[in-house]
């Protein structure tokens, strides 16, 4: 058992889809929160397997896509400082900021390295004691504990030249913001499986309780997703929305206690700026006082302030990524999609990120149409 192939059986998938069609009566709208689910759904043609009663919307679960352009500008501003090495996950490199991108800054001579893990950034800091190594901390609850662990390790090993520029975000507050906005009516949400490995299922109870919306936490293989849709349809048809885990091999109701402890040790909750949504209260993680010597916002505050004053943030003209992350528009409704904006020459982050809805539509679009 490898925990992958077993959940990809196409015969079982077809039968599960038939079962869903058999008991889906009402016309319903579901949102897959996570960009990883969007890609799996498109890649495996799951939308085509589902009956016409089920409409699927993509959500804001793509950390690169929801990073505010002003925050990206900050990272680019820091990159131009001669004593700095910027370390980042690869997806961020090509996202256009207001005036430049990390990739462009690198071409202009900035010292920017793509890393696979915060551990690589720590190693780089050890190897370059005369430079400040800044990690661009994007991600949700899945990634936050790994960044917390790296900060605790840096403290323990007294690595004084390692910093994190935290744009970390929390998923329950943004779900609340979207449901509260009421811009699109949802009947159910496919919950982000790997976020919930950390958080558990408890923080999402308000979704059925307050908004009457069904919530099923899903794995990422095609059978996982179909099982989750099946459970959502059942909840909706019987009028009994609740939080359910359909990814039990990974998610426990209480989550990962050690990871949650580490997050609490290093971070405090703060407002965060989401592209397309704006400031969402209590939806971000910033480094707390005890660990503030690792906070790039503190250590480079002067540099960040002057960069913002010189060049205010501005969104790319015509880009609807902000609408796409709210589920208010599909990529196909953006005039730039596939014409001015392609994966080779992206205008917005939804076309860059491997989790972006635009990238998924572009890559698998033919099968969707």
């Amino acid at each position: 058992m490898k925990f992958i192939d077993e959940y990809q059986n196409s015969e079982l998938a077809k039968k599960l889809a038939q079962r869903i069609a058999g008991h889906s009566v009402r016309s319903i709208r579901l949102m897959e929160f996570c960009g990883g689910h969007t890609h799996a759904i498109m890649r495996y043609g799951i939308r085509q397997l589902l009956p016409e009663t089920i409409e699927m919307k993509s959500g804001p679960g793509c950390p690169v896509c929801v990073t505010a352009i002003g925050d990206l500008d900050k990272a680019i501003a820091l990159a131009h400082s001669p004593k700095v090495i910027i370390t980042t996950f690869g997806d961020m490199m090509r996202v256009p900021g207001s005036y430049s991108s990390l990739q462009q800054a690198k071409a202009e001579g900035a010292n920017i390295r793509v890393v696979y893990s915060t551990m690589d950034a720590l190693e780089m800091a050890k190897a370059s004691p005369n430079k400040s190594v800044i990690f661009i901390g994007i991600g949700f609850e899945t990634t936050a504990p790994t960044i917390a662990a790296s900060i605790v390790k840096a403290e323990k090993e007294r690595i004084g030249n390692f910093y994190v520029l935290s744009f970390l975000k929390l998923t329950p507050p943004v779900m609340k913001a979207l449901l509260g906005l009421g811009e699109i009516k949802l009947d159910g949400i496919i919950g982000p499986g790997h976020v919930c490995v950390i958080t558990g299922s408890h923080p999402y109870g308000f979704i059925p309780e307050k908004y009457g919306v069904a919530y099923v936490i899903s794995g990422f293989e095609p059978l996982d997703i179909l099982l989750s849709v099946d459970k959502l349809v059942q909840q909706i048809e019987t009028g009994s929305p609740k939080v359910e885990i359909a990814y039990r091999r990974g998610v426990k109701p209480e989550g990962n206690r050690k990871a949650l402890e580490l997050m609490q040790q290093v971070f405090e909750i703060d407002g965060a700026d989401w592209r397309g949504i704006g400031i969402v209260p209590q939806s971000g993680l910033k480094i707390n006082k005890e660990y503030q010597h690792f906070d790039a916002n503190n250590a480079f505050s002067g540099l960040l302030r002057s960069a913002r004053n010189d060049k205010p943030a501005k969104e790319p003209k015509g880009c609807r990524c902000g609408d796409v992350v709210r589920g208010a528009a599909t990529p196909l409704e953006c005039k730039l999609f596939g014409k001015a904006c392609t994966p080779e020459k992206p205008i917005g982050p939804c076309m860059v990120s491997s989790e972006g809805a635009c990238a998924a539509y572009y890559q698998y679009g033919a099968s969707y149409e």
Partner: protein, 75 residues
Amino acid sequence: MCLAVPVKVVSIEGDEAETEIGGVRRRVSVALTPEVKAGDYVLLHTGYAIGVVDEVEAKETLKLFEEIIKLSEVH
């Protein structure tokens, strides 16, 4: 970003582990999963094991698929 893949833990040394997937070996941090044992599968995300795969639940889910299918064939 939230991508995580199941990899098999071969051996553990402090808060690091040697893991294997499809013949490829990789050293990962198990700082977030202190309960992990050699032989377990963990979900690997950006160099960290973020959770131990529950084998019993994994099999239960596979059984559930079969049951669902059987049920729908009866009707």
